[in-house]
Structure formats: structure tokens, C-alpha cells
């Protein structure tokens, strides 16, 4: 099974598998590829709905999908950013949600060095416990469930 392993108290460890890198402005997240169920490009801006920070997107004749756009601090944005042209639907048993990104990269059979965040950043309320460095950038390790839970909790 291809998941991002827990470091279990160690400072770093290697992991290998298929991953997806998602970028929302300067926020970069790494997910196991199996956590993503679909990806699509959008050619129009999703519309606001009655729910705060939830947008709706549908191609002609298709069922509208609920869309969330995250900020660099993983907070759902109230206004849809014009430069998010990629939608990914994340695997979550409880919710069907798509997230909007600036960029997506698939890393096939990648071997990555995972580092634990410093202890001071892993207190109660922490969203992230580890990261990798890729091309000089910091990429935070997450699961689809983690992203969905955080987005919905912040959205209220």
C-alpha cells in the first residue's frame, strides 16, 4: 500500500512510491497518488454558493462539483483565485470535494527523504508532522483525509 509513513519519533526516513505534489500559491503538499481520485483542468471560474468558501463548478451538462480553494496556510478562501486552474477530487469516504490548485506534479516510483517537523511545531492543533525538500522547496506531507478535514473544520 502506498501511503506516507509515520516517522514514529525518528527525525527522518526514506519513503518510496507514487506521489502527487499539489501547489496552492507557495503552499506545496505531497500526497500518496492513491489519495487522488481525479484531476481536471477548468476553463471557467467556479461560482460562489450559499456556503461560505464553497464554490461550484460544472462543465456543460455535467453535475456541479463542490470546490474549495486553500490559502497558503490551508484555510479555505472566501474568493476564488483566478489562477487556480486545476481541480483534484480527493479520496475521502465522508465527503465528495474537489480542491483547486495552481500546479500538480506526479512523482512515479520516487524515493524521497521525509523529515519530521521540529518538536515545537508538533503540538496540539498541528496539521502537518513532516516534510520533504524537492528542488529546493519545502513540501509538506499530507493525506487526502487530512486536507478535507482541515478544510471543513476551518470552513465551519
Amino acid at each position: 500500500m502506498n501511503t506516507i509513513p509515520l516517522l514514529n519519533g525518528t527525525e527522518s526516513g526514506r519513503m518510496r512510491g507514487n506521489f502527487v505534489l499539489l501547489r496552492a500559491d507557495s503552499l506545496r503538499l505531497l500526497l500518496p497518488q492513491q489519495d487522488m481520485s481525479s484531476t481536471e483542468y477548468i476553463d471557467s471560474t467556479p461560482l460562489a454558493t450559499n456556503e461560505a468558501c464553497i464554490f461550484s463548478y460544472a462543465e456543460a451538462g455535467s453535475t456541479p462539483r463542490k470546490v474549495i480553494a486553500l490559502s497558503e496556510q490551508m484555510q479555505p478562501l472566501a474568493n476564488f483565485p483566478g489562477d487556480r486552474f486545476l481541480l483534484t477530487q480527493l479520496v475521502d469516504e465522508q465527503h465528495t470535494l474537489s480542491f483547486a490548485w495552481n500546479e500538480m506534479r506526479v512523482l512515479i516510483d520516487a524515493e524521497l527523504e521525509q523529515h519530521a517537523l521540529p518538536a515545537v511545531m508538533q503540538g496540539s492543533g498541528a496539521l502537518i508532522d513532516s516534510y520533504i525538500e524537492l528542488d529546493g522547496e519545502l513540501v509538506f506531507c499530507m493525506s487526502a483525509q487530512g486536507i478535507v478535514s482541515q478544510a471543513l473544520a476551518s470552513q465551519g
Binding site: 503552499l27 490551508m74 523529515h115 515545537v120 511545531m121 482541515q150
Partner: protein, 171 residues
């Protein structure tokens, strides 16, 4: 310009028995907010860096500014004003100078590093035992974060425990 501070012992807990016990010690004095000072034992100070690059981490505690790159590592960067005075502390210094500090989470463990905002210049001072005083009572978290306290120019200056502030300051 970045400035290296004096040598850091590889084992911060070790005591050199050949050095006679003296009633004075050196410390770095840091003004984390106008008129508010803390000190760090001199052997924990490593380097003063100007405007480091840092990355904010979603969900990090209110007193963290992010992760900064330093010598191939990523260090937590803390805002002491927020750490000591809580999330409601008004204003917040921009990330200008930061002080790199060394700590050991337990005796015998590897030396680790962290960084704190240093909005004003840092002074090296000498402290003698007779300057010891009570911690300021107006900052709730000080007893669990401090090693001791001394009086300096009419102010009580807590000496912060680097291991505590970079390991588990909330507990």
C-alpha cells in the same frame, strides 16, 4: 551581515571540572520587545543571521514564524514576544535579525538548533550570583521556560531554557 557567536560545546550539559567554580557567567541579553528582555546562557548562542529565508507551516503554533534554512537544516523560528505574552500580544516584529541557539533535549543527546527573532541588538553581558532575583510575575509561562532570573539595570531578566522553548513550551 551574519555573525558567528562563540564556540558551542558539543555536550551542553557537560561540566568541565578543571575550570574553577566562579560566581559569574556570561549571557546574551535580547530585547524581544521594547523594554522587555530575556537572556540566554552564552554557550547556547551560535550565530546571528540577517533576514533569513523562512517558510510558514500551516497549523504551526501562534508563537512560531516558520521553518528557516540554516546550514543544510530547517530550524523552527520562534517569536519570543508571542511565546511569553500569548497570542493576543499586540504587534509583532518583522523577521530581521534572528539568533540561532543550540539546545539538547536531554543529556547525552545530539545538539539541536532553533532560532528566535532578535528585533534589537544582542548584548553579551556578565552576570554575577548577587544579581539573582525573582522572575517577573506578570508573565505566566516564565517559571516553566526559565532557568533563573537576574537583575540588570533595574529590570528582572529571565534566563530562558533553550531546550524547553524548542521542545515543548506548552507543557
Amino acid at each position: 551581515m551574519d555573525m558567528h557567536l562563540p564556540y558551542v560545546n558539543e555536550d551542553l550539559f557537560s561540566v568541565d571540572e578543571s575550570i574553577p567554580k566562579v560566581a559569574h557567567a556570561k549571557a546574551y541579553l535580547l530585547e524581544y520587545r521594547q523594554g522587555c528582555f530575556v537572556a540566554f546562557p552564552a554557550h547556547t548562542g551560535v550565530e546571528l543571521i540577517d533576514q533569513p529565508k523562512f517558510v510558514m507551516v500551516p497549523g504551526m503554533p501562534y508563537f512560531c514564524r516558520g521553518l528557516m534554512a540554516w546550514q543544510g537544516r530547517r530550524l523552527p523560528l520562534l517569536d519570543l514576544d508571542k511565546l511569553l505574552r500569548g497570542p493576543g500580544a499586540p504587534g509583532s516584529p518583522s523577521v530581521g535579525h534572528v539568533l540561532i541557539l543550540a539546545y539538547q533535549s536531554a543529556p547525552g543527546r545530539a545538539v539541536e538548533y532553533g532560532a528566535v527573532l532578535a528585533p534589537s541588538l544582542i548584548q553579551m553581558i556578565e552576570v554575577v550570583d548577587s544579581q539573582q532575583c525573582e522572575l517577573p510575575a506578570d508573565i505566566e509561562g516564565l517559571p516553566r521556560l526559565s532557568l533563573s532570573c537576574f537583575e540588570y539595570e533595574g529590570r528582572a531578566v529571565p534566563v530562558l531554557d533553550t531546550a524547553r522553548i524548542f521542545s515543548n513550551p506548552d507543557t
